[in-house]
């Protein structure tokens, strides 16, 4: 690892100024950045350590909902009572991510800002549309774990397991910087995660100097039933190959139900067409069949990841059975 300087700002303004002045990365939990530095994928002269900034490490209840400070560890999110009771799908997802050790170190802010796990991007020998070159190696290369939707420009998948769940709950990301023109802003989760068509070089809607300061969960939460189902190769320290988040809202056929797919596209994929199927009838075998028929629509699998389509069909069925309280794995 190439030695680097560490800046220890005590405020968001200082951290933001340092990052902009030197064009260097922020470090919070460090679990993603340090691995990339060790691999020489990035060799910063300095990192800006956010750990000493106050006010980013608490979970608080407000009139607007629950505010999770960006420096709260994944384990502390997963075990928090307000999160477990109000947003159980989030607690479930985050409580099963990575390993116990990583969950004790990694922060919620860092989790949603982690760089993609694409093996071409994480190899110092390749450049692509994401890092100063052009094109996408995975499209014609090794693409077993890559995107099947929206993969024309770049076939990365959004690596955060939490991202689709945040989109489903209608969470917002609180962002701050030192620049007067930017100030504090709140970006809805479905606009925070960017597609390569929006900007291939960024996965999230952060401008230079901007820092994620909190994840905001809405007070208005009408979820009646929920399910999060995910497939991965290993039970521990692995990323999803595909995930399905379903929030069944109060109001039955008039409910504002949510279906968000994860790990199959560069950004979490909300599927209004599937939500309409759920709203149109009962959560029965016909509904499952209709969802399974529809879920692969629009997919454009690459040479090695066609399995993700039937995988999604299986996860979708399992998700509805879970909503109905059926324990049997499908």
């Amino acid at each position: 690892m190439k030695p680097f300087k560490v800046a220890l700002p005590g405020s968001i303004e200082q951290a933001s100024s340092l990052q902009q002045s030197f064009d260097v990365p922020f470090i919070a939990g460090g679990t993603d950045l340090l691995a990339r530095i060790k691999e020489y994928i990035t060799t910063p002269e300095m990192v800006v350590d956010l750990k000493r900034i106050g006010g980013l490490g608490e979970i608080t209840s407000t009139d607007h909902g629950v505010r999770i400070g960006a420096l709260v560890t994944m384990n502390d999110v997963a075990t928090n009572l307000q999160v477990r009771e109000g947003f159980p799908a989030l607690a479930e997802t985050i409580g099963n991510a990575a390993t116990p050790q990583i969950r004790n170190m990694a922060t919620i802010g860092g989790n949603i800002c982690q760089k993609p796990r694409c093996w071409y991007l994480r190899h110092e020998g390749y450049t692509c549309a994401k890092n100063g070159g052009s094109g996408c190696w995975a499209r014609e290369g090794e693409n077993e774990f890559h995107a099947i939707f929206g993969n024309q420009v770049c076939a990365m998948t959004q690596p955060s397991n939490v991202a689709p769940v945040l989109v489903a709950y209608g969470a917002s990301i609180e962002i701050q910087s030192n620049a007067e023109s930017l100030e504090k802003r709140e970006v809805p989760a479905d606009q925070f995660f960017l597609t390569p068509e929006q900007d291939p070089t960024r996965e999230v809607a952060l401008k230079p100097g901007e820092i994620v300061t909190a994840v905001l969960l809405p007070a208005k939460n009408r979820t009646e039933k929920w399910s999060y189902t995910e497939a991965r190769e290993k039970q521990s320290f692995d990323w999803a190959q595909a995930s399905v988040t379903v929030l069944y809202q109060r109001g039955g056929r008039r409910g504002d139900h949510r279906v968000v797919l994860g790990a199959v596209s560069p950004a979490p994929l909300r599927r209004a067409d599937l939500e309409q199927i759920i709203a149109a009838g009962d959560l029965d075998a016909d509904c499952i069949q209709a969802l399974q028929k529809k879920i692969g629509e629009g997919a454009n699998p690459l040479s090695q990841n066609g399995y993700k389509v039937p995988m999604l069909r299986g996860l979708m069925a399992k998700a509805i059975r879970k909503l109905n309280g059926e324990k049997k794995e499908g």
């Binding site: 690892m1 190439k2 030695p3 680097f4 300087k5 560490v6 800046a7 220890l8 700002p9 005590g10 405020s11 200082q14 951290a15 340092l18 470090i27 939990g29 460090g30 679990t31 340090l34 691995a35 060790k38 002269e45 300095m46 350590d49 750990k51 000493r52 106050g54 384990n75 990575a98 390993t99 116990p100 050790q101 990583i102 004790n104 170190m105 039970q235 521990s236 320290f237």
Partner: protein, 208 residues
């Protein structure tokens, strides 16, 4: 091919050579250097910038305050092994995926390879050296011996730290909870079954 052995013909072990080399390097950098202590956690007008050269890093390790000079880019694992010669904590993958470097930070398990040592300032670090001694093993360590919970032994320090944390939080874990507790530790020999039995055995004895 060069022999990579701890007992070289010159009588200088690899470990002692590295230790000696580290000490020599430290002498060069002992000049006036900023120190990362609890004090620098306070907000000041100018942000503190340290490195890339060595600074003084003061940590509480196994209940003892220990200070050493090291670059601020040093991971907690490297600080323990190479600057404090505490080699119980193992370096295997160095990427946070194997758990061999597990230590406790304020009682919780973390991968010491994946955090900067300076981020442990002001917190309690507990390594495997702080959990029992060869003469006075903890009940869990005795159970590892009794239940044959190790083969090559390289994952064992990390396993012992993870299982100690598990029993501290939950003195009577069931098998699933034990599996969850060691989900971040890989044993390439595949001794998981015996490790689970050792934890159950220690749990029955009410020890850790």
């Amino acid at each position: 091919m060069k022999k990579r052995s701890d007992d070289s013909p010159e009588g200088v072990s690899r470990r002692h050579f590295l230790k000696g080399a580290g000490a020599a390097a430290a002498v060069v950098t002992v000049a006036k250097i900023p120190s990362v202590t609890e004090a620098s956690q306070e907000v000041s007008d100018d942000p503190v910038i340290v490195g890339p050269g060595s600074i003084s890093i003061r940590l509480k390790i196994n209940g003892e305050i220990r200070e050493v000079e090291a670059p601020p880019s040093t991971t907690l694992l490297d600080l323990l092994r190479e600057h404090h010669a505490m080699t119980g904590t193992k370096r295997v993958c160095d990427r946070g995926s194997c758990g061999a470097c597990t230590v406790l930070l304020d009682g919780r398990t973390i991968d010491s390879c994946s955090m900067l040592a300076i981020d442990a300032v002001g917190r309690e670090v507990t390594t495997v050296e702080g959990i029992g001694t060869p003469e006075n093993l903890t009940d869990l360590q005795k159970a590892f011996v009794e239940k044959d919970a190790l083969q090559c032994g390289f994952c064992t320090p990390g396993m012992v730290v993870s299982c100690t944390a598990l029993l501290n939080q939950n003195p009577t874990p069931d098998r699933d909870q034990i599996r969850q507790g060691i989900a971040g530790n890989i044993c390439r020999c595949g001794t998981y079954q015996n490790i689970i039995e050792a934890v159950e055995h220690a749990s029955r004895k009410g020890g850790k």
